[in-house]
């Protein structure tokens, strides 16, 4: 093989090689859209259909963006569930305010998200504990904090939050602007030093250390970003549902990991694209529509989202394992 990490640190990021794994999200999108189009076309072509879809995608796309980067480092962030729950709980219990106070609330919850992420990052960077154990523990802790803030589903966030985050700018739905913004952010981020380092850490941490990648600093940044994005997702979720729940965030754990896996990231670290994960998020958001179009009870969505994760991760794992074995054989 020889110097893959070294290569990774100096090479300009290449376009993903077209193969089975990168084709997965588009195949899913095509199949699901076709199914919806045949069964219930109004879900895709009706007035504002795209807006509704983009609105539903935003929170998951935000969480999946951070999850992608954690998975590229060969880590994972399970605590997003607790952070999203805590955020919606705080906003839903402090709805009786207006104006600057609402801005203050948003700043506060995002700061909490960053704090949660920095704690994760410090533990991952400075202790030998694996990311899944660290974030399993902090998921429980933040889930508990959400429970203390809001013990049962309910509450209502500030009305301004809802008017700010929904609606349109110059005729373009705000949710579409946010998704586009995330894609642009990824196009910028993927060629930064930060992401080159992140890929190097994920493909071979020992070599990344040898070529001078600031590993600890990068890991703290990665989890801080994931925590911040999870908190922003919580802000959106509170605005969209108009309430909070002590376990509102738990669904985002499976779905964000599924979005990343569908989006073509390697579960063994080193490669991945947040743009792909956003497409993966759209796949997962289309599933309830397909379930609706098939006139099935909405509970089938939970099954199908898990099923899609299991099937996709198995395919991608086998493909990546075979590819690595072939490469090892060739080298």
């Amino acid at each position: 093989m020889g110097g893959s990490a070294l290569r990774a640190t100096v090479r300009v990021p290449r376009l993903p090689r077209p193969d089975v794994v990168t084709a997965i999200p588009y195949a899913y999108i095509a199949a699901l859209s076709l199914a919806i189009y045949l069964l219930e076309p109004s879900l895709l072509t009706g007035p504002g259909a795209f807006d509704v879809l983009a609105t539903a995608v935003v929170p998951l796309a935000l969480v999946a963006f951070g999850q992608t980067i954690a998975i590229i480092t060969r880590g994972i962030d399970l605590s997003v569930g607790g952070v999203v729950s805590t955020t919606t709980a705080i906003l839903a219990t402090h709805g009786g305010t207006s104006g600057p106070t609402v801005v203050g609330q948003v700043v506060l919850v995002v700061a909490i998200g960053v704090l949660a992420g920095v704690i994760n990052g410090l533990l991952v960077a400075f202790t030998p504990l694996q990311p899944f154990i660290v974030t399993l523990a902090t998921w429980s802790i933040w889930g508990g904090i959400a429970f203390l803030v809001l013990p049962i589903e309910g509450g209502a966030p500030a009305p301004e939050l809802i008017t700010w985050l929904t609606g349109a700018w110059l005729g373009v739905p705000r949710s579409v602007v946010v998704v586009a913004g995330l894609l642009v952010a990824w196009l910028w981020l993927r060629s930064t030093r930060f992401l080159i380092d992140v890929r190097a850490i994920g493909s071979d941490e020992a070599r990344a250390r040898l070529v001078g990648v600031p590993i600890r600093m990068r890991k703290i940044q990665v989890y801080a970003l994931s925590g911040a994005l999870a908190a922003v997702a919580g802000v959106y979720l509170a605005a969209q549902t108009g309430s909070g729940a002590p376990n509102a965030g738990d669904q985002f754990i499976l779905n964000s990991v599924a979005a990343v896996v569908i989006g073509g990231a390697s579960i063994f670290g080193g490669t991945g694209s947040a743009a792909g994960s956003i497409v993966g998020a759209a796949v997962l958001i289309l599933i309830p529509d397909v379930v609706f179009a098939l006139r099935l009870t909405s509970f089938w969505s939970v099954f199908l989202q898990g099923f899609v994760l299991v099937v996709t991760v198995t395919i991608s794992s086998v493909v990546i394992t075979l590819r690595m074995r072939r490469r090892r054989g060739a080298g």
Binding site: P128, I141, G144, N247, F299, V310
Partner: protein
Amino acid sequence: MSVLTAYVVVVGLVVAGTLYTPGFSGIGQLRTYAVQASFIGLVGLGQTLCILTGGIDLSVPAVITGSAVMTSILCHGDSARLAPVIVLVVCLAAVAGVVNGIGVAYANVPPIIMTLGMGGVVQGLMLVYTKGGISSFPPPALARFVVGRTLGVPHLLWFWAAIIATGAVLLAVTPFGRRLYAIGANREAALIAGVDVRRMLVAPYVVSAVGAAVTGVLLMGYNGQAYLTMGDPYLFASAAAVAVGGASILGGSGNYVGTVAGALVLTVLSALLIVFSLGAGWLLITYGAVLLTAALLASVRVQRR
């Protein structure tokens, strides 16, 4: 934390509780702690095996809830149906465990992602099956078994004692146990030494799923009902119990007797929280903090070696 330290912590916590409220260590209380710990302990056997081999099983909450819900609905209060329903539920759980195991062992999927996905699959099927609501009660035979005692000791504790003995012997002396340790310590070396690593790696997930299913059935009898979030605390609790028991989260060390101590620590801690009138939120925070602290202590110990 060594296993001995974990048991010292259990005693210390009971003493601390007694100093605060004298009734804390009454015989009835101690019995209740042990019974509540048995649920964490039953889930903890499979979780110990998974963590020992460097994995984890995130699907336990879904399997616990699913099996409780299915038993409650299929029995419909009829004790005669209990035995066949339990067999069915355990077989279904075993299938979920085998799928987890095959994904991890043969398809090389990271355990965390495989079991996260299967958790969603099981939870989804359970929701579809119940349409989101259940109103049923356990068959009388199950309720009688769970609260009943023989020679003054609750049936659940006899059952747990048998599992503890089996689990301890399984890990300590059988070739099966030694192979699991070998895989956890160094998979490549185990492979070279002739261990069928892949086939062995399926077992922990099957044990975990079956243990979770049995826990779900017993828990339903104990609570007098099944509800959709009943399994949720047991993921954190089982992982924390394994960590308290001294298993290195890096795999390759730990044993079931330690996990038993961990289950007792967590149960006495939750009883202390109730004494201080701290509710469900504090329980989750405690589980998380204990998991983190114990895992850190265990990893420090492994590093020093």
